[in-house]
Symmetry: none
Subunit: 232 residues, 2 copies
């Protein structure tokens, strides 16, 4: 469970409590607004202190998920993203069904995840709520995902045998950065006003496959070859 | 949803918010400790005022469920009662599967339901939580039951994005051929004895994603850019 830029310590505590109820132990925090540790978190955790004490803090969302094979982004609203959208139930199936570490990203209380955070994920998780109300808070989103995770835990499918899990997120980031370095001098990201959207599109296309570490290595080799001078 | 002797107005508000998110509208209160209406409830309801405004107050749990065909009692601990015990999921199935009105009873924050309240119910609902932690608050219990109810209702599933299907095979072949043309002069397929296996690996990596025609077009653009002379 990765809380991205959470605002109130109290909500971090509540999220920890929600996790503890369902046997989840590992919390990661990306630049919590009021720093960390936060004295408001403890009382709200209702005894889930171990989770708070061992929570790790990261400078960026990318850092927080660098060692994860599967990254899920929770969003309430539908977005113009072309990624598969799962319910918490389906996401729990996916987490248990695949080998490799999974991260679920939760955005800040008010605003939710930014587009760049969502871009890191291969899959969207949306809690199906009443569209006419639609006010799910952070700890509620966490508890529903944790609850579904724990329901599926009992009947966890055996991991699929020979499929390698997607490579760790930092290897994917390495590939994307490599390609961007090559494209930059070619003017691929011009005009400047479109650069960010273009980068996001490119990331989306390369995130979708879920390449394993061998495949990522192959592609790094392809890029290195393309940079080479022609043989003659 | 019947809150039996709830203590804090704030928790009544949170329970209303939880219900509203999942399309539940009817809340009943049995002798709330601090009377009703309670000014602390509104702010915690985050807009679910309609539920609070129409909540009915009863003198006893028996009165509150008098018109209900099915009464469920939520408890965390197992009790010495000989009633069927369901998960929230199974309870939701039961609610939807049976004709007649259903009530789910939730006890006071600290103590939970009394034996007499439980006695009114035909069925127990227990949220399966980690026995070593076990600290689910009132609003959390309500939201999990509301969530399961709404899942079964069919209201709920987020609309499946119509994800574009993979592009036609000849577009994928075009991409692969384009990349191979670029790699050939760089010696990527040498030594010759390994060339066929290398081509197969490359094709495998690029086939796995199932890119749609927009994504394939993006990647053709990437390759064309890489072939360009640098801008200066």
């Amino acid at each position: 469970m990765v809380l991205v830029r959470p605002q109130l310590g109290e909500n971090i505590g509540k999220a920890a409590r929600a996790m503890a109820n369902f046997g989840l132990r590992e919390m990661r925090l990306v630049t919590p607004r009021d720093g960390w540790p936060n004295p408001s978190a403890g009382p709200a955790a209702a005894g889930a202190d171990l989770i708070l004490d061992t929570a790790k803090v990261y400078e960026s969302t990318a850092d927080a998920v660098a060692d994860c094979a599967h990254v899920f982004a929770t969003t309430v609203r539908k977005r113009g993203v072309t990624k598969p959208v799962l319910t918490p139930e389906e996401a729990a199936d996916a987490v248990h069904g695949e080998p490799g570490k999974s991260a679920i990203l939760f955005g800040p209380e008010r605003s939710g995840l930014e587009t760049e955070d969502v871009a890191l994920a291969r899959t969207i998780v949306t809690v199906p709520i009443d569209p006419e109300f639609g006010s799910l808070n952070l700890a509620q989103a966490v508890i529903l995902c944790a609850y579904e995770w724990s329901k599926r835990k009992g009947l966890a499918q055996p991991p699929k045998e020979d499929l390698l899990p997607p490579g760790p997120q930092d290897e994917l980031d390495g590939l994307i950065a490599h390609l961007e370095r090559m494209l930059e001098p070619k003017g691929y990201f011009l005009p400047e006003t479109r650069a960010e959207a273009t980068r996001r599109t490119l990331r989306g296309v390369l995130t979708k496959p879920g390449w394993n570490h061998l495949e990522l290595r192959t592609l790094r080799g392809v890029l290195s070859s393309l940079e080479r001078q022609p043989r003659d």
